[in-house]
């Protein structure tokens, strides 16, 4: 209850900052940046696997967000909106550097908890995720790490929901192989 109230208050004031930023208040926008940069950069880093590229994507994300603030609906989540922009920016940057791998069509993912049979070190798991093919990694990061549904992740990535599930299935199989353990 208290947490819900705190969250509501935070969101209220985030909306207030968005309104001020829409009016051209850069100080308000900087506060929004400080609040969200970690999650945006974390997503960009996992999608690009390159710290410098992730920094560029993060900067572009916030610049694009500033330009598009007038289109943002304050009743929706700013965090999700920024993530959508970050995904678009990261995908665009990646397209410049190479084609996206084709996906085996027969693989389909069902509901998964993404728990590990045996705990592993964070860095080992991050490395295993980083070594996944781009499409599988994108779907995994959005769905298993950031908690977006299959549909939301698919929309962000501009792919069909079935394709997203297939990528997740592939990601799970590859993680299982690379970590040498079951991913449930």
């Amino acid at each position: 209850m208290v947490h819900a109230q705190a969250e509501e208050t935070r969101v209220d004031w985030e909306s207030a900052l968005v309104q001020r930023a829409r009016g051209g208040d850069r100080r308000a926008f900087e506060r929004l940046y400080r609040e969200h940069v970690g999650r945006v950069y974390g997503l960009c880093l996992r999608m690009t696997r390159d710290a410098q590229l992730a920094e560029d994507c993060t900067q572009d994300t916030f610049i694009n967000a500033w330009r598009a603030l007038g289109k943002f609906e304050t009743r929706s989540s700013l965090s999700t909106w920024l993530h959508r922009i970050a995904v678009n920016v990261s995908l665009a940057r990646r397209r410049k550097s190479g084609p996206v791998e084709p996906l085996p069509a027969e693989e389909q993912e069902t509901a998964a908890e993404w728990t590990l049979e045996t705990p592993v070190e964070v860095q080992e798991l991050e490395n295993a995720i980083g070594a996944l093919p781009e499409g599988a990694r994108d779907a995994l990061v959005l769905h298993a790490l950031y908690g977006y549904s299959h549909g939301e992740a698919a929309r962000m990535l501009g792919i069909a929901e079935g394709t997203c599930k297939a990528q997740l299935h592939r990601a799970r199989r590859l993680l299982r192989e690379r970590l040498g353990m079951e991913v449930n």
Binding site: W13, G42, L69, L116, Q123
Partner: protein
Amino acid sequence: MTGPTDTNGRTVASLRELPQSIEPARDLWPGIESQLTALPAQDSAQGAGPGYRRALRLRWLAAAAMLSCLAVGIWIGRSLLPGAAVGHLPPSTASRSTVPGLAPTALDAAYVSDPRYERQRRALVRALQERLAVLPPPARAKVTASLAAIEKAKKDLEGALGQDPGNALLQELLINTYQDEMRVLTDVHEASDSGRGI
């Protein structure tokens, strides 16, 4: 890929346990800000989508408090000061309980710690009580309602600060509300000092 820097040796049993937030190695804001500065003016003029029209509860409260103060100031200046009748109203109606805006709160000390402020405020409150006692009922009701709106805004802001004590915006709005209250009190007090009467 560079992973989170504060996870040395930590183990996780689920992908959901991985940190969602990773801080970049350097502050990216200066670069962002410089690019925002370089944007054409029309890009920074944000449009008014459907969300823009949605009022924000706490922001409205602060705005309401400021508007109330402004309205009271204008009303005092235009309607009360020039020549309203004096002494034809019962003084007994101006009790402190009719002025909810004047009750000190726990957070007063945290944000308004200057003893001079407190002394001045107390003096103004006493003067206000005298002025309220001789005001016509409609005028007294307006002043009281305005101070009540300010008090409600203070309480709401203090409540929000209780949830988020470090929020600079909330602190700023709360101080603004204190200043609004002081402005109303001062207006009434100066009217009394000038001898113009209400």
